[in-house]
Amino acid sequence: MTVFLFYVFAGIAIGASIGVVIARSPVGSLLFMVTALAAIAGTFVLMEAHFLAAVQIIVYAGAIMVLFLFVIMLLNLGHEAQRDLKGGAFAVVSAGLAGAMAGLLALQLRGSEVVAGSGAGAEAIAAANAEYGVVGAIARPLYTTYVVPFEITGILLLVAIVGAVALAKRGEQS
């Protein structure tokens, strides 16, 4: 059942990703992206990452995608009728490049040893989930072992906010 659900979510995610690339209007692209993010959140749940699935929905599909939608509406895009896909030789080269990348990834995946079922980490995660709860299992290492990267992330967000405001603000001279 889990594997079947995984295939369903994976199919939706791949289909919606293709939709992001080929959709005509930016808003359509964005809605496909939200679908893909929701489907990926579904695969996260099936892989025992419940907290990340919730964060994926709330932060990614909620906040970041709304930010994109806001910018699309602000710039009033999507009225051009023509497709904005690059054509001709460039598209062929891009397809070749993407195909080569897919081939290399497939070779690597074929070469790696097959892991059946769940791995060794899954038991550790299940034990941590049972002991501390789904959020606590992530929060404990985040606030102990990885507390310095966590704080640096906070600084990064502050810098990003200041940078975004400074960039998007209208200059006084114009």
Binding site: F6, V21, Y60, A102, G121, P141, G163
Partner: protein, 97 residues
């Protein structure tokens, strides 16, 4: 399920790469980069099932950096749009010779 997740991750990453290469709208290119980040997140969560919870913590950091990147990138797109009145990357040719 780890193998299936890695295959899914590879497929979504390749689709995202193709999208970045082939679209001309800067915002869609940006969306495709987000798609690539998500593909890597799927791989991280799959590897967390193999090696422990650290993979999930990495996904947490990736999401934060993606949020910061989206904020700054969209601000750059807005300020470019003020100059050129378009987000078509083909018309940003100031550095082209």
């Amino acid at each position: 399920m780890i193998n299936e997740a890695l295959v899914l991750s590879a497929i979504i990453f390749v689709i995202g790469t193709f999208g970045v290469l082939v679209r001309r709208n800067a915002i869609i290119m940006f969306l495709c980069i987000e798609l690539q980040l998500n593909a890597v997140n799927v791989a991280f969560v799959a590897f967390a099932n193999l090696y422990g919870i650290e993979g999930q913590i990495f996904v947490f950091f990736v999401m934060t950096v993606a949020a910061a990147e989206a904020a700054v990138g969209l601000a750059i797109i807005i300020s470019i749009f003020r100059h050129y009145e378009t987000v078509d990357v083909g018309s940003f040719n100031l550095l082209k010779w």
